[in-house]
Amino acid sequence: MHILACVKQTPKSDNVKIDPATGCLIRSGAESAMNPFDEYALEEAVTLKEQLGGTVSVITMGPPAAENVLRDSIARGADKVYQLGDMAFAGSDTWSTSYALSKGVEKINSLEKVDLIICGKQTNDSDTGHIGPQISAWLGIPNAAFVRRVVQAGDKSIVVERLTEDGTEVLELPYPCVISVVKEISNPRVRSVKGRMAAKRAEVTKWTADDIGADKTKLGVKNCPTRVVKSFAPKRDANAVVVEGANGKEKAAKLVELLKENKYI
């Protein structure tokens, strides 16, 4: 079984500062670490490896310093690590990032067939939750997001339980597939002595956009379909209106009236 975990270096979550003027994260000088949700993803990958045998690879895209999260991944039980680093990737949105990662996955797959890709459900710095599902879209393979439990991992498919807005779903996905996981999935272990020593010696494979055969017109800040126009802290508005009514139908009708009255629709 070859499991690939996707991780990202993000500001340490106990140490995040926001620029009051721009509303953006202050990244310079902030201590970095592995995105906390990715710790759960990697732990689940390592746990599955321990149960089923195989290899855990880890991929990240990021600046040179992002190598640290790959070494950290080795300390936490990963076997092989890959870094996508290129100025062409700079400023990529989730569409571009997931494209680059999917090209990285294809290249890793050409070296050793990938069965399962595990992502954290989102990052702590941009919170989109896009990357896992988008990687599966680029690769044309199945995806399950918000997975909280692996029910059973077999030779050909995996059965997972995922959270939905009103409960849970149990899905079976044939390999290769992508799951993105919530924190209930695992209890990340502490880096072992052996892992810590291996991390220092680990070889980090580094690839550029050309190395993974990526189409540069899909990469970087200039080619992204989305861009951040403005970041701001939402204003607190206490004038909430609670729509009363005997049943859902009546409440819905009143809500529509209210929205029309205020010209929202």
């Binding site: 272990r189 502490v190 880096r191 072992s192 002595v193 052996k194 892992g195 810590r196 020593m197 220092k200």
Partner: protein
């Protein structure tokens, strides 16, 4: 101060510090109050490789020595001396096996030991044989390819949870102490049962049980070394394990200081932080100096031990011999005196530091909400197990007497 002299020792300190803060600390008060073994923590120890620190890489261990083992035990005990005993007592139970085992026995037991899949425990003490281990009454009489074991052991740490018990038995009662041998007895062997679970003052999360052997048939392949040499292996084991208890005591003392100093800095009485009262500050300084002296003593000894232990292990693996035999080739002398000195000094220091810290912090430290009273309860065991402080003094004076007699002085 860190006494690590190589990367492995430094990473052992780093890893165990992280493990203690992230995993032990949140559990310690609850597990102490419930007097329950923590399966959750056992799993964490296993996942972070705590059982294999001192075992060779061949078996999946790390290849560290007695120093790594002691450092881990210190750092874990610094946060919870009770939870720390899961890997601690496994090492104690496994050291005699590892010293005396043949190559075949090592193959049989060391993989699951290093991975933490199986826990070990050491069973020496009996109701009538405490400090006087030679008085043990458990017998193991040969019957064909088996030994038939009868008797009772008590106060056995990690009892019932451990899978393998290294048990001191008498295979030839007519020879008294010279009939004592060591047998490895697996949990689940017919006739082997667990009696009373003790309720203890400290280290309460670790289960202490009575072991009962009624006509337990143990295959002769489970005999360690040769018959009648059990006490020798026990003594050799204690030589290596007592610095571990000393390290645990240093950890308890340091942990008590870790709780005390921040409190004294922030607690104000008479309009000032109470640490600025010289009577209190000087007491803390004395306690910290003794703790550091204990730590320096422990690691000075373990580093010297490792200079012999690690090459002996390497040679035993290469030659297919026992570690015990390889150690004899290298040295022949014993560590008993220095091990006893480390344990004596550090155990007394831990008790003094924990006791004084409770006094320094006052009423709050007497309350269970504050962790200090637990350090005081836990510290006490280090003066008792693996030889009381009085037995350590016996060891020291016995060694000194022999040394001076040999010199004709």
């Amino acid at each position: 101060m860190d006494y690590a002299i190589n990367e492995m020792e430094q990473e052992t300190l780093n890893a165990t510090r992280e493990l203690a803060q992230k995993k032990l600390k949140p559990l310690r008060a609850e597990m102490d109050a419930k007097e329950q073994f923590s399966k959750e923590m056992y799993e964490e120890f296993r996942k972070s490789g705590m059982f294999g620190l001192w075992l060779p890489e061949k078996y999946g261990g790390l290849g560290g020595g007695i120093t790594c083992l002691a450092m881990a035990f210190e750092e874990l005990s610094r946060v919870c001396a009770g939870l720390a005993l899961t890997p601690g007592t496994t090492a104690l139970g496994a050291i005699p096996m590892f010293l005396a085992a043949t190559a075949e026995q090592r193959e049989r037991w060391c993989y699951d030991l290093a991975s933490g899949k199986k826990l070990w425990a050491f069973a020496l003490t009996e109701p009538e044989a405490g400090s006087d281990a030679t008085a043990l009454k458990t017998t193991a009489l040969k019957d064909g390819d088996y030994y038939v074991v009868n008797g009772t052991k008590h106060f056995i740490s990690t009892g019932k949870e451990a899978d393998f018990y290294t048990v001191a038995v008498n295979t030839n009662p007519s020879r008294g102490a010279r009939g004592i041998s060591l047998l490895v007895i697996e949990k689940g062997t017919p006739g082997f049962s667990f009696g009373k679970k003790e309720e203890k003052m400290g280290i309460r999360t670790n289960p202490t049980y009575e072991l009962i052997f009624e006509n337990v048939r143990v295959p002769k392949e489970n005999l360690l070394g040769s018959e009648g040499r059990g006490l020798l292996y026990v003594q050799e084991t204690l030589d290596y394990s007592r610095p571990g208890v000393a390290a645990q005591a240093v950890g308890i003392a340091q942990g008590a200081l870790d709780e005390t100093i921040p409190y004294l800095r922030t607690r104000k009485q008479f309009g000032q932080p109470i640490i600025t009262f010289q009577a209190l500050g000087h007491k803390v300084a004395e306690l910290a100096a003794k703790t550091e002296a204990g730590r320096a003593l422990v690691y000075s000894i373990t580093h010297r031990m490792d200079e012999e232990f690690l090459p002996a292990v390497k040679a035993a693996l290469e030659n297919g011999t026992t570690v015990h035999d390889e150690l004899k080739k290298i040295k022949g002398g014993r560590w008993t005196k220095y091990s006893a000195m480390a344990k004596l000094f550090c155990a007394n220091t831990a008790m003094e530091v924990a006791d004084e810290c409770v006094t320094l912090c006052g009423g709050i430290a007497y309350m269970r909400d504050f962790p200090l009273e637990k350090y005081m309860r836990d510290a006490k065991i280090t003066q008792i197990y693996e030889g009381t402080v009085h037995i350590q003094k016996n060891e020291i004076i016995s060694a000194l007497t022999k040394e001076y007699a040999a010199k004709g002085e």
